[in-house]
């Protein structure tokens, strides 16, 4: 296997070097678009249109960031994204944790039916339901409100939330809860006093993943919101292509600003995110 090529005492240095060259290329390709677009956002217009493109930046400028931050719609969109993703995360964790606990810990007859239903929803093509939901939301006046997107985001994020939480809850030691129950705690008390604090790291990881999911959502936001007062960044930024028609620098700056919170989350919590992402897919 490949695992035998770079480790072990008798292997040649050449293999080790090749391995690191491969790693370097892989990391470079993964990060290249972000780095390149960042570069595009800090050069002058003259440099931007130079052909062949310059690779090195002569004194970086922040004009493009000034342009987008002085645009009230962009600032509004950042706030909207934060509200939508934040509220979605809280609602998902509340219902998701309760449901996941029952699935991980309690015995009941239709457990596998419930899990299959939840799994089915995560494969569900969301576009299949936008027409009836659009009609429904229009009738009850939810179009153009945060709730239209929060409700639909919750439904499509819940399977992910439940799936990951079940995996985390299953790993927690059972003895503590049983001890609590022997001492007279009810199921709900055992859940609140024992499981919740113990599961905090897992719940936190799930929160990050749910937040990223809701922050990145586009289809529902693009369908139900058509006013800058409620649109999140995912809808606002592609529109910048029409607002700043040839201002590619401003477009680049906007893309960089939106991804920075995500890049920070990823760098800080990479270990947890990986364990959360793989928890549901792989049975250890």
């Amino acid at each position: 296997m490949a695992s035998a090529t770079a480790t072990g005492g008798s292997k040649s240095n050449l293999n080790v070097i090749l391995f690191y060259v491969f790693l370097f290329l892989f990391v470079l390709v993964s990060l290249f678009p972000l780095l390149w677009v960042f570069k595009m956002s800090i050069v002058t217009k003259a440099d931007l249109f130079q052909s062949p493109a310059t690779t090195l930046v002569a004194p970086p400028i922040s004009d493009n960031y000034g342009t987008i931050f002085s645009n009230p719609d962009f600032r509004r969109a950042l706030v909207n994204s934060t509200i939508i993703a934040g509220v979605t995360t809280v609602i998902c964790l509340f219902f998701g944790a309760i449901c996941a606990y029952a699935i991980a810990r309690l015995r009941f007859r239709f457990k596998s039916t419930v899990m299959t239903t939840i799994l089915a929803i995560s494969f569900f093509p969301a576009v299949a339901i936008i027409a009836p939901l659009f009609v429904l939301f229009s009738n009850v006046g939810l179009i153009n409100t945060y709730w239209s997107v929060i409700i639909t985001d919750v439904v499509f994020a819940l399977p992910l939330t439940i799936w990951i939480l079940v995996a985390f809850f299953k790993e927690l030691p059972k003895d503590l809860e049983e001890a609590a129950k022997v001492d007279g705690a009810t199921t709900v008390q055992a859940f609140r006093k024992v499981i919740v604090p113990l599961a905090a790291p897992g719940v936190f990881t799930t929160a990050i993943l749910t937040f990223i999911f809701a922050w990145n959502e586009f289809l529902f936001a693009n369908t139900f919101l058509f006013d800058a007062t409620t649109q999140p960044v995912t809808v606002a930024i592609p529109n910048f292509a029409t607002v700043y028609t040839v201002d590619y620098g401003a477009q680049s700056a906007a893309a960089v600003v939106v991804t920075i919170p995500l890049v920070i989350l990823v760098l800080l919590f990479q270990r947890r995110i990986v364990s959360g992402l793989t928890a549901g897919a792989v049975k250890g």
């Binding site: 596998s112 239903t117 093509p125 936008i130 027409a131 009836p132 409700i151 995500l262 792989v282």
Partner: protein, 303 residues
């Protein structure tokens, strides 16, 4: 129904709902399940209903049977959406799987700089699809785009990438492969790490070569993970919307963009949009069934 079986039925009902622990379990599962069923399942049924009528956004209209479907299959935009979606799904999942498996095999070991590699894996994954599409669009752009420049300089393309639909489709596949191959590698790596090392050791002692070890040990033991990863990616690619929408500036059609246009842009095609929505729903459902029953994927979570 005989008395005995009715007794038996009442027996389990009593057992399920008479037992306080089980009752609590149902109370705990119900809210989440109700939310999901109300918001996801009811609209599907409504969509099917609407697709059989001359529906507009404000009224259901006259019953027309399957007319919307026959018209839909004669619509050029729908056919090109279907073709693009199928090509996109097959090509992107194929490349993601092959490259992802290669990367997973290569980094399935302890080495310095693991953290950096893991971060590099997660960055493209965490990007909003529309933002990565916008970023790549900037790089494909004919005035300032670095990729367009390079491809032109080495004679790979004769016209600007963004003005040609075939090149746009290839570009979209490239962006999808860039964005999700690392995720595929991550899942496969987690699967590889559950294969015990002594299995390989034993095979080596028995004289199995690299290829034998790969095809006789790695692939069979990795099969459950592969199926999960490929199913996830297939379902995801099949509903492609944001990437096409932003990358091509609404030029490139997929099944999902066709539905979206029917619902939100061309009100005249509302009924056909619904028919296309139902089409996506059922074909996606069949795809999932094929993976689960045809390829023997395990969905049970019981230990």
């Amino acid at each position: 129904m005989t008395t005995a079986s009715r007794e038996k039925k009442r027996g389990w009902l009593k057992e399920e709902f008479g037992n306080p622990e089980r009752r609590t379990a149902y109370y705990m599962v119900l809210p989440a399940l109700l939310i999901i069923l109300l918001v996801a399942v009811y609209p599907v049924i409504n969509s099917i209903w609407l697709s059989l009528h001359q529906a507009t956004i404000t009224q259901t209209g006259q019953f027309v049977g399957l007319e919307n479907y026959t018209e839909m299959f004669q619509n050029e935009d729908f056919i090109s959406g279907l073709t693009n979606t199928v090509i996109f799904t097959v090509a992107s999942v194929f490349f993601e799987f092959i490259i992802g498996l290669g990367i997973a095999l290569a980094i399935n070991q302890a080495f310095r700089g693991r953290g950096l590699v893991r971060a590099a894996i997660l960055v493209p994954w965490a990007f909003p699809t529309v933002i990565s599409a916008a970023m790549w669009r900037l790089m494909f752009q004919d005035q300032v785009g670095v990729i367009n420049y390079v491809a032109n300089a080495i004679g790979l393309i004769s016209e600007p990438i963004l003005s040609d639909r075939t090149l746009l489709l290839i570009g979209s596949i490239l962006v999808d492969v860039w964005k999700t191959t690392p995720f595929m590698a991550l899942l496969l790596l987690a699967g590889l790490q559950t294969i015990p090392a002594d299995v390989y050791e034993a095979a080596r002692v028995d004289g199995a070569n690299v290829f034998q070890r790969f095809f006789q040990i790695t692939m069979p033991l990795l099969k459950p993970t592969i199926l999960v990863a490929v199913l996830f990616r297939t379902m995801d690619s099949y509903r492609v919307y944001d990437l096409f929408w932003v990358m091509s500036n609404r030029q490139l059609e997929s099944l999902s963009t066709y539905v979206y246009k029917g619902v939100r842009i061309s009100q005249l095609q509302f009924a056909q949009g619904n028919a296309a929505a139902v089409f996506i729903f059922f074909t996606a459902f069949l795809l999932a069934l094929f993976f689960i029953y045809g390829l023997g994927m395990q969905t049970s979570t019981e230990d």
